[in-house]
Amino acid sequence: MKSKFLQNFLSETGDISRFTARFFAEAFRPRYELSEFLKQCFFIGYKSLPLVAITAFIMGLVITIQSRPTLVEFGAEAWLPKMVSVSLVREIAPVITALICAGKVGSGIGAELGSMKVTEQIDAMEVSGTNPFKYLVATRVLAATLTIPILVVLADAVSLYGGYLGANIHGVVSWDLFWNQVFDTLAFSDIIPSILKTFFFGFAIGIIGCYKGYNSNKGTEGVGRSANSAVVISSLLVFILDLLAVQIIDLLKLT
């Protein structure tokens, strides 16, 4: 039983690695599917914006409200904007945004490509002599890799605004004071690594969604399973990549 699980795990890891290698081999060679890439940027980026913004706003608000009593206990209420901004920018906004995208984008890509696979649309592209991998996979993975970091920057801004409102629910912090403290606290060493890691989050979400959809089988049941496992695996990968990123940042003494 255990050996079967291990065998499946290793086999799946090998397949995903080969799929990723094929992405790098195909994505940067002409012909470039620019219009499909822009369309995917619109779907992945623009269409996810309201969900990401609402989630980020609530996270900023809630983190501020939850942190305040502890800081008040130590007489450190004035540190609230500093603490909240560091937690949001370094960790909470990137990870929460990536998880939201793993759910929305990963499942969307998995289900879309999965249904194209089972209805032979991918085969139809293949037999018409066009490269479905380039058209479907390369564009979606690149779009996810490039738009998720932009969503994270927006989520950072919106969550900090939520933090400002949260700080003013039980206390009074002026607009200028809040933002002065936020920008005094945040350094490039907080912002750059946290954004850099989101490129990897985006890539992982895109590649897993595409892998699961592109290799979907067993009819409509398979499509559901592809969408589901795309979300589960990409969410797990987001946490694993985050852990690695934190370790690397720590080792390089970037914080």
């Binding site: 012909r31 209805t119 032979e120 649309q121 085969d123 592209m125 037999v127």
Partner: protein
């Protein structure tokens, strides 16, 4: 048994040069032997129907020809090139000359009819202007009698219309060979007959050779210059509709009852 004794081909317009040659093709899925020593030629201008029971490997056969499935052994020579030996880009060049009509039509759901037809054109005729592409799209839709559907999406079309659009998409690159996978399955008899007649008209108009997978005897009767019986993974018999219909072989008789 007619077996290997190949019967006379009733079409006079074909020339003898085969555009597809399958020689000793084997394909298995696990212990299920689908194709066993399958050998057959398709001559230029010929329309051949492959007849066989469900699950006998007919679709596997044409998927091997187009390179979607790799055979275990044997040669599949299409327009002078052995398909199993080709890499991706070589296959793409051959595929531009071989059309494939899927049983499920496989129209791209997220695209309009125009975009479905433009999709292969924009990739294989990159030097064409938008006006030239529009002209070809109009011509292809006109040949299947559905010019008015150009801005519709596949979900707005009936089963017969989808089949015609899929046929138009197959024809748009002006292929030399067309492979049809059960073109009339799921259609009512009248629409099925219309599609079969359309296939014949288009074969004449575009001078194509074709392999048709079908169970529909009405379609077979209209389309076939020659019928190949795929039984037990082998080319069991081949001949014209009339030849096979009057055969004494029990296995062949079952199909024409």
């Amino acid at each position: 048994m007619i077996a290997q004794a190949q019967l006379n081909n009733r079409i006079d317009t074909t020339n003898d040069m085969p555009v597809i040659q399958l020689s000793h093709v084997y394909k298995s899925f696990g212990s299920n032997r689908v194709l066993q020593d399958f050998t057959f030629d398709l001559k230029k201008g010929e329309n051949v129907v492959v007849l066989g029971k469900s699950g006998s490997g007919k679709s596997v056969l044409i998927k091997c020809i187009i390179g979607l499935i790799k055979p275990d052994s044997g040669t599949i020579n299409v327009l002078g090139q052995n398909i199993p030996d080709l890499n991706h880009s070589q296959l793409d060049k051959i595929r531009a000359k071989v059309g494939f009509l899927f049983q499920s039509n496989a129209l791209y759901d997220s695209m309009t009819v125009r975009e479905n037809l433009e999709f292969p054109l924009r990739r294989h005729r990159a030097n064409m202007t938008t006006n030239q592409i529009d002209e070809l799209v109009r011509e292809a839709l006109n040949s299947v009698g559905l010019e008015h559907t150009v801005d519709m999406t596949p979900s707005e079309l009936s089963g017969g219309m989808k089949k015609r659009i899929a046929l138009a998409r197959t024809l748009i690159l002006k292929p030399e060979i067309i492979l049809y996978d059960e073109p009339t399955t799921g259609l009512d008899p009248i629409t099925g007959k219309e599609i079969s007649n359309l296939m014949c008209e288009l074969a004449k108009k575009y001078n194509t050779s074709s392999i048709v997978i079908s169970h529909d005897l009405n379609c077979v009767k209209i389309v076939a210059d020659k019928i190949v019986m795929l039984i037990d993974g082998k080319c069991y018999a081949q001949g014209s509709y009339e030849d096979l219909q009057t055969s004494d072989d029990e296995k062949i008789k079952l199909f024409f009852k």
